[in-house]
């Protein structure tokens, strides 16, 4: 088999990048997916989209993504809504910290603001706010349907004649004289002029086959989801004290996540500790949640890098090899901007958003990691 471009990983990044490449005239694309499209982080994620971060890189990249989300939403029929994010603070010491964060974000054009419990009450009428001392609101943040964001562009790609190989494992990259030549897969060798690896934490395994060590480690994450209701909770809410969050998906289900102690690179497994923590935190804020039925509990991974920022762009050591991985929990929200940047790289250009260039793999080789005013979310 032969193609102009092979994309390893049919998650939101691989699919949207393929769609953008197609628009730029590259029509001979093969998408390789070890399971089914979206089966990794894309279909497990919370679907939140925000630019309220604490590094220049994250903010600028996400601002571009937020500009692009309405366009891809209209183009592919992906539900997307700017319902906001709300960080809930219950400790005095966090308020000073968040004031600094808000100041930094405002200075870069992200319209976050501090608010008191009564304003929280207005935004989320069914919430108990007596334990809240302050909150931070990001009105530009939002959420989208993760299923539609992968499957709808994929259906278009399929009609356009792109080859999508599901249940196909990529074993090894093939490189000759420092130029990428293709990928060895469970369905044979696919020769290619360009290869993009967008396979989450498993990108590391694939790059290892050519001696490149991406510093990505998987950390297990836990989520439960309820039955569906009409819209009741508008913003995605994060309880800063317990690192847990709740949102109402656009389909109507409540989606609840909570951090429990976890080790890197271990198999994710279901834990009662998660259920207890998540249930306690959110039934205190929303007593009516006690009567809500939980339908499913699943796990997934954040593919973490040492500076919690992704690795995006060309790998200098191998011509025409590109990577987009290590999103550290923020891949879905930035995907439209990442797709745009990768398509620019892969057609001989440079990303419009300059900060993408700081997200190269070389930063780890040189020890020049991304700086944040604080690690946050």
């Amino acid at each position: 088999m032969k193609a102009e471009v092979v994309v390893v990983g049919a998650g939101v990044t691989g699919v949207l990048t393929s769609a953008t490449l197609f628009e730029k005239g590259i029509h001979d694309i093969v998408l390789v997916e070890k399971n089914y499209p979206g089966s990794g982080g894309s279909f497990r994620c919370a679907t939140g989209i925000r630019a309220s971060f604490t590094s220049r890189e994250h903010i600028e990249v996400m601002k571009r993504a937020i500009e692009l989300w309405p366009a891809i939403s209209a183009k592919y029929g992906i539900k997307y809504s700017r319902d906001g994010y709300l960080w809930i603070l219950t400790r005095e010491r966090d308020v000073e910290f968040f004031k600094e964060v808000v100041e930094f974000q405002n200075s870069r054009g992200v319209p976050t603001r501090m608010m008191g419990p009564s304003q929280v009450q207005e935004l989320v009428p069914t919430m108990r706010t007596d334990k809240i001392i302050a909150a931070v609101h990001d009105p530009m943040a939002g959420k989208a349907s993760c299923f539609e964001a992968v499957l709808n562009p994929l259906a278009v790609l399929r009609k356009q004649g792109i080859t999508i190989l599901s249940n196909t494992q990529a074993y090894k990259l093939i490189v000759e004289n420092n130029v990428i030549k293709g990928v060895l897969t469970s369905k044979g060798i696919i020769h290619a002029d360009q290869v993009l690896v967008a396979a989450g934490g498993e990108s590391r395994d694939l790059l290892k086959t050519i001696g490149i060590d991406l510093p990505i480690r998987n950390i297990p994450k836990h989520v439960m989801v309820s039955e569906t209701f009409k819209p009741i909770i508008k913003p995605l809410m994060i309880d800063w004290t317990t690192s847990s969050y709740i949102l109402q998906l656009l389909h109507g289900n409540f989606y609840i996540g909570a951090d429990i102690p976890e080790k890197h690179d271990v198999e994710a497994s279901n834990r009662l500790e998660f259920l207890r923590r998540a249930a306690r935190v959110w039934s205190t804020y929303f007593p009516w949640l006690r009567e809500v039925y939980i339908l499913r509990y699943w796990t997934g991974y954040y593919d973490m890098t040492p500076d919690h920022h992704p690795i995006i762009g060309p790998i200098k050591e191998v011509e025409e090899l590109y990577v987009a991985a290590g999103f550290s929990g923020h891949g879905f929200m930035m995907a439209p901007a990442v797709a745009e940047a990768l398509a620019e790289y892969m057609t001989g250009g440079k990303p419009v958003v300059r900060e993408f260039e700081n997200l190269n793999y070389e930063r780890f080789v040189k020890g020049e990691v991304i700086k944040e005013i604080a690690v946050f979310g």
Binding site: F147, Y293, I294
Partner: protein
């Protein structure tokens, strides 16, 4: 099965999905249970697929010629049957 109007046959009762929608999605290339679940939300409501997934597996077999083993690979996620959130809170002893 094809005697009646497929637009009037409800396959997934939780999410109100018709046979017509299932057949059309398969034709569009959503030819596995995992993809049909995310495309149409079949099997993702309160019954967790106990009412519909076997039926949809049969439709998939008929439409694609695949074997039962090829089409029916469901992931069962706890709690299997819906459980109220309050049951996860636990006793006060644990603080």
């Amino acid at each position: 099965m094809t005697q009646q109007d497929p637009r009037k046959i409800i396959v997934c009762r939780c999410e109100n999905v018709t046979l017509e929608q299932v057949l059309r999605a398969i034709e569009e290339g959503f030819d596995s249970l995992e993809l049909l679940k995310r495309k149409l939300r079949v099997g993702m409501g309160p019954c967790q697929g106990t009412a519909c997934l076997l039926m949809i597996a049969r439709i998939l077999m008929q439409k694609t010629g695949k074997s039962f083993e090829e089409v029916f690979l469901p992931v069962n996620r706890p709690p299997i049957h819906p459980v109220k959130l309050k049951n996860f809170i636990g006793g006060s002893r644990e603080g």
